[in-house]
Symmetry: C2
Subunit: 303 residues, 2 copies
Amino acid sequence: MNLNQIELLQALQENNLNLSNAAKKMNVVQSAVSRQLQLFETELGAPLFERKGKKLVGFSVLGQRVMKEVANINQAKQNIQSIAADFMDGDRGTIHIATTHAQAKYFLPQPIQRFREKYPGVSIYMQQTSPEHLIDQLHRHKADIAICTEKVQEDAELVAKHCYEWHHAVVVPTGHPLCTGEISLQRLTSYPILTYSYGFTGRSNIEIALQKAGLTLDVILSAADSDVIKTYVRSGLGVGLITDMAYDGEVDRDLVIRSLADIIPSSSAKIAYLRSSFLPSYTRHFIEELIIAAESLRNRHAC
Amino acid sequence: MNLNQIELLQALQENNLNLSNAAKKMNVVQSAVSRQLQLFETELGAPLFERKGKKLVGFSVLGQRVMKEVANINQAKQNIQSIAADFMDGDRGTIHIATTHAQAKYFLPQPIQRFREKYPGVSIYMQQTSPEHLIDQLHRHKADIAICTEKVQEDAELVAKHCYEWHHAVVVPTGHPLCTGEISLQRLTSYPILTYSYGFTGRSNIEIALQKAGLTLDVILSAADSDVIKTYVRSGLGVGLITDMAYDGEVDRDLVIRSLADIIPSSSAKIAYLRSSFLPSYTRHFIEELIIAAESLRNRHAC
DNA sequence: TAAGGTTACGGCGATCGTAACGATC
DNA sequence: GATCGTTACGATCGCCGTAACCTTA
């Protein structure tokens, strides 16, 4: 048994047990992969895979159990490398952030800029995806930390830190009837609604509020992206239902925002990372920066 | 980085950073160890050890952190091997049991015999030590499971299963005044006492009961071993205070046992093993056997 | 026939062992 | 001088890559 074989197994798992692809990932030729697998299996004394002819179609029972340990080993190996890299030069490195559009555009810019000033040697990679995929990115080690609102709490393998609370808000063009008078869910039902897709940025909280009130909204457009929603609101397609954060007093002067803080329960943005992973000091500082930004957000709100 | 280097680090840790000894354990020559260490350190880019001249005198800060991951990797590696071995032939293997004298002599014989009948291919190694050392044996992978009464609950890295409850009892030679009349702590204070050493087999429960009552016993002999205590009781040295289990109606016909169930809180014997370790099926069956034996013990008591 | 997997063989490099050397008590 | 660690060098063995071969969609 050696570390390359362990890594290989992981690569194989991430490539649907396709030897050729795994070989590419490991920077070796395909026949090498084939041999290493055989060697490992003969060493263990039993097959790790279910085979259909020569093709690998799945893990055997043994294989499934072994893969859990394989994941542990690879994680530990990565941790060792991270720890050492952090130790050598704690001011250089990379952070991979997985997040949704709303955070990437409206929350992260300020803390990232502040962080970059302190750690110019740290590169930040950001990827936007859907909340489920986002957690997947953590598990697949494609991202170091994730920032999002939904579905983080449930996963026992993740550490989820509370970041900030936010509320939904209605945005309409100036002059729209909803600009004046009391806002209520009841009243919203009579307008075409544009809001987030299912599973996105607090959409579930909207659903909960509706269900409680026994109402349904006429959602004519679901998007993952506040800006898309605002664009359609501008064109008069309907009423936008977005994060209050996504309203920019400057740019959105032609839109009117009305808070739904009292109507739809607040959502909590979380910072998540794998419990088992080692975070370099700069990453921990980055998280601190996020928390600070979240606090200043709260204070701004309080004013 | 490779698995041999990881293993080497563990071997080194277990040999007080002595290269020669570690080399022996790894079945290589000492110079090989020296080189592998250097290679690994240069790969990481920073020293893993504090050095005094050429001698390794301790882990560096980096080294300490790395060693945690090293332990994880080695554990996972062992698990893979155990899983595979168990899968290949689940009826052959070894169990290393760490326990105290009391369990080894008075509790384990029956379940071990029953287990051996079902699994003749499994060798059982038993080692007797003190309770603290016993837990250490688990952490050092010298034992797979431990059976003891004290200090197991506190360790978060261990799984501790309740095995059985037992009580203390007084043993005295026939004709001794304590053979008749009510037994009380108060009454015991007037006799010289022989019982377990500190940290052994429920001694702490005796202390707790005494403290509550505001009494002190005149303990003239502390031993780790019920048989030693009984021997001295026979010779008239004093009153024995031991596990009720340690009284054998046959052999100890010349002694009288009086239960202290109502006077000293009951002690709980536990089965413990590392949370992170994989237990082969026969080991899990062995544990079941212990639980069954514990139940039959309870029933016998009830009669 | 293209794609995926196995087998055979030659070459290269990592790691070992021997052995000589340096330091520290 | 005994113990412990490092360095030098030749030899070996493991692993890779090329390439030919087998199987199945």
